[in-house]
């Protein structure tokens, strides 16, 4: 494993951060939103149990998630032959593991708290089970967007898992957060601060966009 002594190209690092976090948020959204909606519409014992498990997973330390994904992707692990360790795809997998429970849990909560009248109205108007789920999801869109925002926030600011699974290889798996850690360790404070500002600007831009979308859905 080649840990870079100095931070690499800022543009490349920023682009990879966005790519890894954006992809992992997208994948986690595609997994979590349908399942969260399905479970949120069911007030059964098993759904409650799953909700409790998910809330516990909210607190899953990213380094632990990273370690688990590392073991799965390592040469001796079940997915070792795929050669995903120390690759951006491996980092995406690690972030999906971290963000999916968050997006799923929040989606489940917001769907289950949608007014009973929404479900009754769609039902009375003739909606089948699938159409009812889509209607409830549409009414809960602002909450689901919040779930995605929180998931992306967790992904872009996460450092432990991507460090373990990505390895911070120069020009290949360097992202903003891991580079800041390395910069600080090497007293490259101005470079670390630059990356920190970029991280902040990205977060502000994404949240501002999602906030506007949220406002639009609430109209």
């Amino acid at each position: 494993m080649g840990v870079s002594p100095v931070s690499g190209d800022i543009l490349h690092i920023t682009a990879l951060s966005l790519l890894v976090s954006g992809t992992s948020t997208l994948v986690a959204t595609l997994i979590a939103v349908p399942i969260g909606t399905f479970l949120g519409l069911r007030e059964v014992g098993s759904a409650r149990l799953l909700r409790n498990i998910l809330f516990t997973l909210y607190g899953l330390p990213p380094v632990l998630a990273g370690l688990l994904v590392f073991l799965v992707l390592s040469r001796a692990g079940p997915l070792g032959p795929l050669g995903l360790l120390y690759t951006p795809l491996g980092m995406v997998i690690a972030q999906v593991v971290i963000t999916t429970p968050i997006i799923l849990g929040i989606t489940m909560s917001v769907v289950s708290t949608v007014e009973r009248r929404v479900k009754d109205t769609a039902f009375v108007l003739g909606a089948d089970r699938y159409q009812l789920s889509i209607t409830v999801l549409r009414e809960a869109a602002a909450g689901v967007l919040t779930a995605i925002m929180v998931g992306f926030g967790r992904a872009i600011s996460e450092v432990g898992a991507v460090f373990i699974v990505g390895g911070h290889i120069e020009g290949q798996t360097q992202v903003l957060t891991t580079t800041i850690i390395i910069d600080v360790a090497q007293a490259e404070y101005s470079h670390a601060l630059t990356l920190g500002v970029i991280l902040l600007v990205i977060a502000a831009a994404i949240y501002s966009l999602l906030y506007r979308l949220q406002e639009k859905t609430l109209a």
Binding site: V118, V124, L125, G126, D128, T135, R138
Partner: protein
């Protein structure tokens, strides 16, 4: 475009409280049938049982003489023949026309037909001008009229109205009562109207039933019901003297 309704021995409880205590009622195809009674008599519960929102503990409901099917597809087909307007209807996020077109969209009506029928339904309640207005900014009267248009745009064979003009001003009440008469006249659909407003029952219904404490006390043609009731409780209710 019509449906008969037969309810026999319907019982529904919420915890220890028995709300419906063996309801027997028959609604003929094409009639406007009003169920009157004080608040808490079980009127809404009865409509919610008829529209599958509640499951009764005992009794039988037949639609055109048939029990509700257990298979999902025929069940959805039956549900789609029944429309309902609630006292406080929920309007989905979006415009008035989105709300009205909802039932058509889920029935795969598209394009020009979707647009035409949506506008016709809105025009029918005098709201063509608010088609593009967000539902959240509509007045209570407009919202109720949109909810009515949303229910009838799909041309249900059985229309259930649950205190659908309660708390509205006379102008909106008049528009909505005319809309019910017109829908019943033009389609022949059966209408079951639940109300505590005897005057509305008198104005709209062909037959009326009194529901008291979970039981049908008396049912009959509107004139007979109001002018020569058989049961003393009906007489007291009609005179506004019934002590609840």
């Amino acid at each position: 475009m019509t449906m008969s309704l037969d309810v026999a021995g319907l019982v529904k409880s919420f915890r220890e409280r028995e709300v419906l205590r063996g309801i027997d009622v028959r609604v003929a195809p094409g009639e406007i049938f009003a169920i009157v009674g004080p608040s808490g008599a079980g009127k809404t519960t009865l409509l919610r049982c008829i529209d599958f929102l509640l499951s009764p503990e005992a009794g039988d409901i037949r639609y055109d003489g048939q029990a509700a099917p257990s298979e999902p597809a025929p069940m959805i087909a039956l549900r789609r023949r029944i429309g309902m307007v609630a006292q406080n209807p929920y309007l989905f996020r979006g415009t008035a026309s989105y709300n009205v077109s909802f039932g058509l969209c889920i029935r795969d009506v598209e394009g020009g037909e979707l647009e035409t029928r949506t506008m016709e339904a809105l025009t029918g309640v005098g709201l063509a001008g608010v088609a593009g207005t967000r539902a959240s900014v509509l007045s209570a009267g407009e919202a109720q009229r949109v909810a009515f248009a949303r229910a009838v745009v799909v041309r249900p064979d059985l229309l259930l109205l649950d205190e659908y003009t309660a708390n509205l001003d006379p102008a909106n009440v008049n528009i909505l009562e005319s809309a019910v008469r017109e829908y019943n006249r033009s389609t022949g659909a059966t209408v079951v109207l639940v109300t505590h407003n005897m005057f509305q029952a008198k104005r709209l219904a062909t037959r009326v039933a009194l529901l008291l404490e979970g039981r049908i006390v008396e049912a009959g043609p509107v004139r007979e019901f109001f002018e020569s009731p058989r049961d003393p409780r009906t007489l007291a209710f009609v005179r506004g003297e019934y002590a609840f």
